[in-house]
């Protein structure tokens, strides 16, 4: 790093140091304000949809949203952890489908038709691929975007060239994976069909709790916020960059593996060409939820709200009678609105505190 860059922080007096410490200790600065705005937007949208289609306000709709958004939310939580550290991961969906594909093949091959086994295999592979990301990024101090973009290519190459992966169709999927996507925790009759809460809620809750704990209750979590807020200061404070990067990228990879199995079970098709290409949608949801591309900010509740909004937009267009193109329009608008407002708030707060860093 450049000397003058460090100088600015280091020579600062007591007030700056306290602030620095506060930032190092984390919490998305002022993210609470952004989140209440997001919650407000969600409520407004739900009311709008309900006005057009009163049936929408039902337990069935809520359960559908959970089933549809669960897998995306799981992978978004991994993306959040990486983003808090100031990195950006675009290999997570390629990683997800690789992990799910290999897990399906191994489950079939060994004849161990058990969901737990498939999940362990997928999360292990995901974590290994993630760890490789973390290792490369730390050892060569490479930009995370370039590294993970390259990794995305490598993973797809491995799938196509070395594994020669053709799609595995419903009839050839292990039974445990086939029914993971249709099983429900509980159900009750509703009109001609029934309403049921998908078992996807279990991995979803697991990922939410684990990520919250990792970010808020462990030294690794604090170090992750610290690296994202000020990488150099964090290193000076004794944060082991290699160790943290290994853990967070492996963690994001493991969640990607979990998400991959959920996704292939949901659509009952293991096709190497699915998933990849939707990375920006997930990144958008995480950013809408208050995470900063520059790192140091972001929360689990933000991701939950961001994903709720994106899933809502995705799953209500038919209900309100709009074509699919509106989806992109709405997500784009929400992104611009929320990014502008949160940046503006940060700017105002900095001005009040006589901090002219990022104006």
């Amino acid at each position: 790093m450049k000397p003058q860059d460090t100088g600015k922080k280091v020579e600062a007096g007591g007030a700056t140091q306290t602030r620095l410490l506060a930032r190092l200790l984390g919490r998305g600065v002022g993210s609470q304000g952004g989140l209440s705005l997001l919650a407000f937007l969600i409520v407004v949208y739900v009311v709008m949809v309900a006005l057009r289609s009163p049936d929408f306000l039902s337990l069935a709709s809520l359960f559908d949203l959970i089933r549809s958004g669960a897998a995306w939310t799981v992978v978004a939580l991994g993306v959040l952890v990486v983003m808090v550290s100031g990195g950006i991961d675009v290999s997570f969906l390629a990683n997800a489908i690789l992990s799910a594909y290999v897990a399906t093949v191994i489950t079939k091959w060994t004849g161990l038709d058990s969901l737990a086994f498939a999940l362990i295999v997928a999360m292990t592979i995901g974590a290994l691929v993630g760890a490789i990301n973390g290792l490369i990024i730390s050892l060569f101090s490479l930009p995370t975007l370039i590294t993970t973009l390259a990794m995305q290519g490598v993973i797809q190459g491995v799938l196509m060239v070395f594994l020669g992966a053709g799609p595995i169709t419903a009839g050839h999927m292990p039974k445990s994976l086939r029914y993971f996507g249709t099983d429900v925790l509980f159900e009750f009759p509703d009109g001609p069909g029934f309403v049921g809460l998908s078992v996807f809620v279990v991995p979803l809750v697991f990922a939410v709790v684990a990520t919250w704990y990792l970010l808020n209750r462990t030294a690794i979590g604090r170090a992750t916020y610290a690296i994202g807020s000020n990488r150099l200061a964090a290193i000076r404070c004794g944060v082991n960059l290699l160790k943290i990067n290994l853990v967070i990228y492996a963690y994001a990879g493991a969640l990607a593996g979990l998400m991959g199995v959920m996704m292939v079970s949901d659509i009952r098709l293991v096709d190497p060409v699915t998933l990849v290409g939707n990375e920006l949608l997930v990144l958008a949801a995480v950013v809408i939820g208050g995470a900063k591309l520059s790192g140091g900010a972001g929360s689990v509740s933000g991701v939950l709200l961001g994903m709720t909004l994106v899933t809502l937009l995705n799953n209500t267009l038919v209900t309100i009678g709009l074509s699919a193109s509106w989806n992109k329009f709405f997500i784009g608008c929400a992104l611009v609105l929320i990014a502008s407002i949160s940046h503006y708030r940060a700017k105002m707060r900095n001005l009040r505190q006589l901090n002219f860093d990022n104006i």
Binding site: S53, D55, A60, S61, D64, S68, M160, V161, G164, G166, P167, T169, A170, G171, G181, T182, G191, P192, G193, F194, M263, D266, I267, R268, L269, D271, T274, N314, N315, T316, L317, V318, T319, G321, S323, A324
Partner: protein, 333 residues
């Protein structure tokens, strides 16, 4: 670059003359025609089945007919493979293009070199290739889809459906022809949407859209899918909701939709047999090489191609394959 290319074309032209002489001579002395199918992609069951048809043709007619394809569905790689077939100067090239527009100039080059070119699944190439061979007319395929939907629904009730995208010409031809057919023949059927849903050939999108539609219209009795992802995900959505009273039909493959046909979540799937299309395309090329007439009513010796029609350089069969619970197991694609 230009010089080199013109030299190549010139060279190929000379080779063409030479080989035409050989071909004429060879035909008398029983020389085997080299007829090569360049398919879209290696390693997928659809084209594995097509290969069977091409090889069957080779066995039936004593021709040197075989199939090649790029490992991935890469249009550039496919174009390269056709180029090398021109350089090798085979007698006929059959092609299922990944991208009809980008392969067009190369097919023109092949024609100039005196090679017979037959395309499949590319009506826009009719006129560039000697003939384009299609399993059916899109209008007939769409009408049949809606006929089967109406029958499965018992001739009345509300229905909805999904296409790959509103800009996909083939899907929209099926949809429009089918909708018109249903309006005329089944007035009690009601299409509840203003236009079909779109899945962009993505399963997750299809599943979510179908699910939302089934929830919004709980009295829906039928659903059609013009894409494989659309029809299979409609069947899966019906399974997830345990609503076997909703009848699903549409484009489908034995390997993907078979499980839903078997378990009764899909009433009927329709497609065409790749092996037969490959066989028919090879036969058209063979007839052209032999100088036999290619006209309406000729028999290409495959089910559905016994009496083809020809319009503007497109050879149409009537070879729609309707898959049901009882017959999907007979096919391996």
């Amino acid at each position: 670059m230009i010089t080199r290319r013109s030299v190549l074309v010139g060279g190929a032209g000379m080779l063409a003359l030479g080989s035409m002489g050989r071909a004429a001579f060879g035909a008398e002395s029983g020389k085997k025609y080299e007829i090569v199918m360049c398919a879209k992609q290696e390693g997928i069951s659809w084209f594995d089945d097509m290969r069977k048809g091409v090889e069957q043709f080779a066995a039936d007619f004593g021709a040197n007919a075989y199939q090649i394809a790029p490992e991935s569905g890469d249009p550039a790689k496919q174009a390269q493979m056709v180029e090398s077939l021109i350089a090798k100067h085979v007698d006929a090239i059959l092609v299922v293009p990944n991208d009809p527009q980008s392969i067009k100039p190369i097919l023109e080059k092949a024609r100039k070199a005196g090679i017979i070119v037959i395309s499949h699944e590319a009506q826009s190439l009719a006129g560039v290739s000697n003939y384009d061979v299609e399993a059916f007319k899109n209008e007939d395929f769409g009408a049949l889809m809606f006929e089967n939907l109406a029958k499965a629904m018992g001739g009345e009730g509300k229905y909805a459906g999904i296409v790959g995208a509103l800009t996909m010409e083939t899907h929209m031809q099926w949809f429009k022809a089918g909708l018109e057919y249903a309006k005329k023949n089944y007035p009690k059927l009601e299409f509840v949407l203003s236009e079909p849903l779109e899945d962009n050939n993505d399963e997750k999108t299809a599943l979510d859209k179908v699910n939302e539609t089934l929830k919004k219209y709980p009295d829906l009795k039928g659903f059609f899918g013009c894409s494989v992802s659309g029809s299979s995900m409609a069947a899966l959505a019906v399974e997830k909701l345990r609503r076997k009273d909703i009848k699903v039909v549409g484009l489908g493959l034995p390997s993907i939709n078979g499980v839903y046909l078997e378990e009764g979540y899909q009433a009927e799937a329709q497609c065409w047999r790749p092996a037969d299309a490959g066989y028919a395309a090879a036969y058209v090329a063979y007839k052209a090489l032999k100088g036999e007439p290619i006209e309406a009513g000729i028999d290409l010796k495959r089910p559905g191609y016994e009496k083809v029609t020809i319009e503007n350089g497109v050879v149409y069969g009537n070879a729609t394959l309707v898959l049901t619970k009882d017959n999907y197991g007979d096919y391996g694609f």
